[in-house]
């Protein structure tokens, strides 16, 4: 009989299903980063002068910064001159006017990824913005949404069609000075999604962006901006994949959320970038800055993330709770296997009175994976009666992986209540044997145990994506969340 640890380890090993490359002719900038490249990107996108200037300011600031070293991950230095900062599939004339004009190869790519864009096949109840390398190839359901005044389009289009709004909010939550990768992104960001939900409107469907890195040696630097006006609400989902390549590729996105009075933004991520192979060759470096501002009273921002991919994940979706009575929530499942490393968590900055935050983090480590939770709960002096609850659980599968927890708590107001709970468990041979002794196979047992462990997070995901997330955990789970 093999030891069950071996069995478990072989079970979590699975092939990356989205590793194919689409053969499209693309137009790329030469590798390397300088002011000319930035001007080129800006020109390609027909941007106004203020945005070109903003990019250049960001670039000059970035040059003064050093790559951060404090995170609990190890990787060779990134050669920023070896990266291609702009790559777009070649179009016949100008940008396609509608999805019918999009290169069929691209549509096929998304179909293979399970995201059909064509009108007949598009996902019911989900509007999708499909981003391929540096550009958005199409957005579904735009017209239906526009009837309610909802703007959902690529970032480039938003710059052209809603420049005032972009100018007002771009960098208002994550300034270009925020950190190394945010500065880099502000200089070279290519595309991404923009949404605006007008006053009092509840967005009738899920909005979703699907990011695909295709070109070799390219980086992806997208920018997402979501604004919920007073008493509006929206649920947004982000998904991503990349081909299998031996080199590492950089993904450094910035996401900014602005929630005005009484509004709600639910942002869910199912991250499945290529994680590299068993020896740790290749894979995406996912260095992302995500932050939401609860600007209005009683606003609410919920981050839910299921992180299964990437060679290295480095991200802290955060909430600034400025409005009185606002709420921030962070629900996370992070899985690392083979040589993957994740340093992820959140920051909850309480500024307004009666603000509340909830953090639920579930880390699963297998193989030689290293998984760190890093979280900051900051209660400023102005935050009367602030409340926080944090729960960080780690699960280890096998003996060669690691789990680490770095909670930081700063309280400047004595009326605050901050609670932190943490646990580490090993997926027990006991648990597996117990399931076996009831007639369940080891694979089903592992699925069940892991899903049970993540249940509190999965229940925060929109239904369809909860199912997707379970599948992504590395094994086909078939509804085993009881």
């Amino acid at each position: 009989m093999s030891t069950s640890t071996d069995t478990i380890e072989s079970l979590v090993k699975q092939d990356y299903k989205y590793g194919f490359v689409t053969d499209v002719e693309s137009e790329s900038a030469p590798p390397g980063l300088n002011e000319d490249i930035i001007r080129l990107i800006s020109t390609k996108k027909q941007e106004p002068q203020w945005l070109t200037d903003w990019r250049l300011k960001s670039y000059r600031h970035w040059l003064t910064l050093k790559e951060p070293q404090w995170q609990f991950v190890k990787y060779p230095p990134v050669d920023f001159q070896d990266i291609t900062y702009y790559s777009a599939p070649k179009q016949k004339d100008d940008a396609p006017k509608s999805l019918d004009e999009v290169d069929p190869k691209l549509l096929e790519t998304y179909e293979k990824l399970g995201i059909p864009l064509r009108e007949r096949a598009r996902l019911a109840g989900v509007a999708v913005d499909a981003v391929f390398d540096s550009v958005s190839v199409g957005t579904t359901y735009r017209e239906d949404l526009a009837k309610q005044g909802i703007i959902f389009c690529s970032f480039s289009e938003a710059v052209r069609e809603h420049p005032d709004m972009v100018r007002k909010y771009l960098g208002s939550v994550v300034p270009y000075t925020d950190n190394y990768y945010a500065a880099l992104n502000s200089a070279v960001f290519s595309d991404g999604s923009f949404c605006y939900i007008p006053k009092g409107v509840r967005c009738p469907m899920e909005l979703s962006t699907y990011f695909r890195i295709n070109a070799a040696k390219s980086g992806q630097f997208e920018r997402t901006l979501i604004i919920a006006d007073d008493h509006a609400s929206v649920s947004y989902l982000e998904g991503c994949t990349a081909p299998m390549r031996d080199e590492n590729q950089l993904h450094a996105a910035v996401v900014e959320l602005v929630a005005l009075e009484g509004s709600e933004i639910k942002y869910s991520t199912v991250q499945n970038w290529y994680p590299g192979d068993e020896q740790g060759r290749g894979g995406i470096y996912n260095f992302v800055t995500k932050r939401g501002l609860c600007k209005g009273r009683n606003s609410r921002i919920t981050w839910t993330q299921v992180e299964t991919g990437s060679a290295i994940t480095w991200k802290y979706p955060s909430c600034i709770l400025l409005g009185d009575g606002s709420k921030g929530e962070f629900y996370s499942v992070a899985v690392v296997n083979n040589r993957q490393q994740a340093d992820t968590g959140t920051k909850m900055i309480h500024i307004g009175k009666n603000t509340r935050s909830t953090i639920v983090s579930k880390g699963i480590s297998a193989g030689h994976g290293q998984n760190s939770y890093r979280g900051l709960v900051e209660i400023r002096q102005s935050a009367e009666n602030a409340r926080n609850f944090s729960q960080c659980d780690s699960m280890l599968i096998g003996n060669s992986c690691g789990a680490h927890t770095f909670p930081y708590i700063e309280v400047k107001n004595t009326t605050a209540s901050v609670e932190h709970e943490a646990s580490t468990s090993k997926i027990g041979e006991d648990q597996i044997f117990y399931c076996n002794s009831r007639g369940l196979e080891t694979q089903d047992a592992v699925n069940m145990i892991v899903n049970g462990f993540c249940k509190e997070v999965f229940k925060e995901l929109p239904m369809e994506f909860a199912v997707e997330a379970q599948k992504l955990l590395g094994v086909s789970l078939e509804g085993s969340v009881g």
Binding site: M1, T3, S4, G428, E429, D430, Q431, F433, Y434, C435, N436, S437, R438, G439, L440, E441, T442, D444, M448, I449, N451, G452, F453, C454, K455, E456, S480, G482
Partner: protein, 253 residues
């Protein structure tokens, strides 16, 4: 004419990490019979139960175990379960976040599939669960909770017997099901177990005390010491043990 026994253990030697724990254990269990296995702590009772259920990490160095005419030791633990072997754990395992009803339905359907029966849907399963619940006076809320999570000692033991009732095994092994139960709970559990007795199935009741055997009346009683059975008899042996203590047997054997 003798029928094929349900379980036949012959001169079993087994251990863990090079340490021999079972040292030549022989035991035969026929259909319709209830066997009690008694013995001091550390005599190897749980080890035997674990080996019968197929737990990893034990080395069998000698002897055979035959279940319904087949080599039991050759089967994976889940196959044993599907073939009708059930172990009520001395220490039932908690599985946080996995709903008890969901778990049990998945288990039952695996067993039914193995037997060539159709899988039960949620409605039929619930009907079955309600019926079996009455048997054990089990509160329905227990089934809404995660498997054994935060259950009291007594609740865990009752939940084990409830699982047994639903899965309907051919050979049920109860490892110290009585420990941690107060007298009322003990009676309920014992009555439940008694109702599950059938002419074509058998029970191996492992216990440390004679107390349980007032309610589950065994056909055979075995006393185990240092990895083997040192004395067998009928139910009076348990009473004798109670009045004279284990020393008496250990000395006379």
């Amino acid at each position: 004419m003798t029928k094929t026994p349900i379980l036949q253990i012959d001169n079993l030697h087994a251990g863990v990490e090079g340490k021999e724990i079972l040292k030549g254990l022989t035991l035969t269990i026929h259909a319709g019979d209830v066997h009690a296995l008694m013995g001091l702590n550390g005599s190897g009772k749980s080890t035997l139960a674990a080996i019968l259920a197929g737990r990893d990490g034990y080395e069998v160095s000698k002897g055979t175990v035959t279940y319904m005419g087949h080599d039991l030791l050759d089967m994976d633990p889940e196959v044993r379960a599907r073939e009708g072997v059930f172990l009520a754990f001395q220490y039932p395992v908690e599985i946080p976040g996995v709903n008890s009803t969901y778990f049990l339905k998945a288990a039952l359907n695996e067993i039914r599939k193995h037997r060539g029966q159709s899988e039960l849907d949620a409605i039929d399963f619930l009907a079955l669960v309600r019926e079996k619940m009455k048997l054990l006076e089990l509160g329905e809320d227990l089934l809404k909770r995660s498997v054994n999570s935060g259950f009291s000692g007594g609740e865990k033991k009752r939940a084990e017997i409830f699982q047994m009732a639903v899965l309907d095994p051919i050979l049920a092994i109860l490892d110290e099901t009585d420990s941690g139960l107060d007298i009322d709970a003990l009676k309920t559990v014992a009555e439940g177990v008694n109702k599950l007795r059938r002419p074509d199935s058998a029970q191996l009741v492992i216990t440390h005390y004679q107390r349980l055997l007032n309610y589950i009346v065994p056909d055979h009683v075995h006393v185990m010491a240092d990895g083997r059975i040192v004395k067998s008899g009928d139910k009076s042996l348990a009473l004798e043990l109670e009045s004279k203590g284990y020393d008496w047997i250990l000395k006379s054997s």
